[in-house]
């Protein structure tokens, strides 16, 4: 079905089946306060299974803040307060009975700056599965490490030096290590906060290809400053400005036929 669709729409700009998969994340009227300051003014959106959604917008527009709401990383900021509802599948993730540990096992995250643990490559990957008791035996763990690294496209480069420190890898390799670390616990959603901003173009291409492959299995939400990147990888793109979600649409639509004036100004480079 997929190939048929691709062939059929080959002439068009970005043929993608959007919204055909079930909804994975629903956000309704999400507001975030840092102390008294409202940083996000009521964002609502649906994110579907196995799609890549990109958040774009100028600095300080709230896109990272919203991303961090989805695995409750904002909990670590003492002054932050979140209102509204976010559901992962049928679960309200801000329900007091929800254990944040369980949530974060389901919603993984990759950060702007690669942050491998100062341990061996193997230990970096094995940490998550070990935490959650996902591997019963050492061989299971070895298997998880290998398949995570393979899926992150890093296996060939590091298979002979799994004991070497993860911090000794290049920036791009470190970021793929962090992605491998995130998928080692088999999350359902992967959040990426500007994952390529510290990488050179070749490493960026690596990571982007990886995202497109991972899409087959995972829901991916990516924050990016790079509009070309959003255009290259995202099925749908959301434009944030000054704490508001201005517009969310199929990527091709958003870039070619934006509905809002502010979106048009931003994507055509008039500000931001």
């Amino acid at each position: 079905m997929m190939t048929e669709a691709t062939q059929q729409n080959a002439a068009e700009i970005k043929p993608k089946e959007v919204g055909t998969t079930p909804v994975k994340i629903t956000a309704r009227d999400v507001k975030v306060f840092y102390g008294d300051k409202e940083a996000l003014h009521g964002v609502s959106m649906d994110i579907h299974e196995r799609e890549i959604v990109a958040f774009i917008g100028p600095s300080g527009c709230g896109k990272s803040t919203f991303l961090r709401c989805m695995n409750r990383m904002n909990d670590t900021v003492p002054s932050a307060k979140v209102t509204g509802k976010i559901h992962l599948g049928a679960t309200d993730i801000y329900d007091p009975s929800i254990d944040v540990v369980l949530l974060r096992a389901q919603v993984g995250m990759v950060f702007q700056k690669p942050n491998p643990f100062p341990k061996s490559i193997y230990e970096n990957i094995a940490y998550g599965p070990r935490l959650h008791g996902l591997a019963k035996a050492k061989t299971d763990l070895d298997g998880i490490v290998e398949s995570s690294l393979k899926r992150a496209g890093l296996w060939e480069e590091v298979k002979d030096r799994l004991d070497a420190p993860g911090t000794g890898l290049s920036g791009g390799q470190q970021q793929r290590l962090c992605i491998a670390r995130a998928i080692a616990v088999s999350p359902e959603v992967i959040l990426m906060d500007e994952p390529c901003s510290a990488l050179d173009p070749i490493s960026t291409a690596h990571v982007e290809n990886l995202m497109l492959e991972l899409k087959e299995q995972y829901t991916i939400v990516i924050v990016t400053h790079n509009m070309q990147q959003a255009a290259r990888v995202a099925d749908r793109t959301a434009f944030f400005h000054l704490g508001d979600l201005i517009e969310m649409n199929e990527t091709s639509q958003l870039f070619v036929k934006p509905q809002e004036k502010r979106t048009e100004d931003y994507v055509t480079g008039r500000f931001g």
Partner: protein, 459 residues
């Protein structure tokens, strides 16, 4: 300056670029000389501090190092059966006898040895090398440390088979002989101002020239405790053991409590007025004069809790209180220095906060915590004032066998020896004790550096 009438080459009032460049060039000389002056003052400050430290160490080493060698007689002592008469053989330990009971029997047996004239042994052996010494036995005995006769007795108690044999022994000379031979007293002083008699002085010189008195490495300094009756054999062992016990108490108490408090305050505690208050107070505690902790120890541990006076356990408790703020502050600083991305990485994988800290943050902070601990312990080791107030400045002649026994500490021993009335002798002993303390500190600091290097993880 009027911009309308004067042409400008830039935003300022200068007419041309050359004029501006010239103006900037004219200021350069002043700026350079300022820099030179600043550098010179820096070098001067460094030189001054190195000079002062050099003078301090120089004087300590100059006074202290000779004290590690001490005037010692090398004599053949004849344990003749006429002088050392034993009425019964030393009791033998019976198979089913308790050690305490055996010790009691040995002590009973040893009582008879107290009536033996041990000085006679010394006089006879000196007479062999110096026949005229028989004319003035008092002067001969003046030359020996007063504990020598007990040492001879203890040798016989240890091994009664020695009786009838002649042994070549190293016997510590009296403090006054040591002072005389080392020239630490003005030799031209009149007789009534000298510490030992004219005969003793003459013979000491003579025996030193003959090699009977030698300047030997002073083992008593490390194997004996303080002594007042026999200053020549006063040593550091009791104070050293006391200091060691206090260090153990400090490490066992201040480190776990301090690290736990720091981790809680840094990683878990909510940010509110109360935690701010605690933080300010911890910083204040670090600045409280140490003698105040001594007063606290005296009133709380000794008066309220009835712990024994002069005991290393009380000293250790007081020093722990004093070290706690240092450990807490330094541990918090090293926790703060761990990049938050490491915590976030662990949390995003689903680690709980405790797991993120124990698995990642603490291992990374370990070198910092270790350094903080060792510096805190070294600081405690050198502390004197609070110990004076809990009775650790008492004269203690025994080596403490438990932390509840009375004891002194190394810095207190330095304080006590520095005040000893036998100045000529104890000035050197004090410096020697300072050297021992400094070596101990230096060892601790090197250990801190080594541990830091060993556990340092780069990221």
């Amino acid at each position: 300056m009027n911009n309308a009438t004067r042409p400008n080459s830039g935003l300022d009032g200068f007419a041309s670029n050359e004029e501006r460049t010239q103006h900037i060039a004219s200021t350069l000389k002043r700026r350079r000389s300022k820099e030179t002056r600043f550098r010179f003052m820096g070098i001067l400050a460094v030189a001054l501090s190195i000079g002062l430290v050099g003078i301090l160490f120089g004087s300590i080493l100059a006074k202290g190092i000779p004290s590690f060698w001490q005037a010692t007689f090398v004599l053949d002592v004849d344990f003749s059966p006429e002088l050392v008469k034993l009425e019964s053989p030393k009791p033998v330990k019976e198979p089913n006898e308790s050690p305490a009971r055996y010790e009691e029997r040995v002590n009973e047996w040893a009582n008879q040895l107290n009536f033996i004239n041990w000085n006679k042994l010394l006089l006879e052996s000196v007479a062999k090398v110096l026949p005229e010494s028989t004319e003035n036995p008092r002067a001969v005995l003046e030359m020996f440390a007063s504990s020598t006769r007990f040492d001879l007795r203890n040798m016989v108690i240890e091994n009664p088979d020695i009786i009838g044999k002649t042994e070549r022994l190293d016997l510590v000379a009296s403090a006054n002989v040591d002072v005389w031979i080392k020239g630490n007293i003005d030799r031209s002083l009149p007789d009534n101002q000298q510490q030992i008699s004219a005969d003793a002085r003459k013979w000491a010189d003579q025996l030193y020239a003959e090699g009977v008195i030698e300047n030997m490495f002073s083992t008593v300094l490390f194997t004996n405790s303080d002594s007042r009756s026999s200053p020549a054999t006063a040593g550091l062992l009791g104070a050293f053991v006391g200091s060691l016990m206090m260090m153990v108490v400090v490490i066992l108490l201040a480190v776990p409590v301090g690290v736990a408090a720091a981790v809680y305050l840094e990683e878990f505690a909510p940010q509110n007025k109360f935690t701010d208050f605690i933080e300010v107070n911890i910083n204040n505690l670090a600045a409280v004069p140490s003698i105040v902790f001594g007063l606290l120890g005296a009133s709380v541990f000794i008066i309220m809790l009835n712990l024994p006076m002069s005991a290393p356990v009380v000293g250790g408790l007081v020093l722990s209180l004093m070290t706690l703020p240092t450990v807490i502050i330094a541990t918090r600083a090293s926790l703060k220095a761990i990049p938050p991305s490491i915590r976030e990485g662990a949390l995003a994988l689903g680690a709980s906060r405790v797991q993120a800290i124990t698995d990642h943050v603490l291992p990374l902070a370990r070198p910092g915590i270790l350094t903080a601990t060792i510096i805190g312990v070294a600081q405690a080791l050198g502390e004197t004032a609070p110990l004076l107030l809990i009775g650790m400045s008492a004269f203690v002649a025994n080596v403490p066998s438990t932390p509840l026994d009375p004891s002194t500490a190394l810095p207190v021993q330095i304080f006590l020896w520095n005040g000893n009335e036998l100045r000529n002798f104890f000035e050197g002993r004090t410096s020697a004790a300072i050297i021992v303390l400094l070596v101990l500190m230096l060892t601790l600091n090197s250990l801190a550096i080594w541990l830091r290097k060993k556990f340092e993880i780069r990221w």
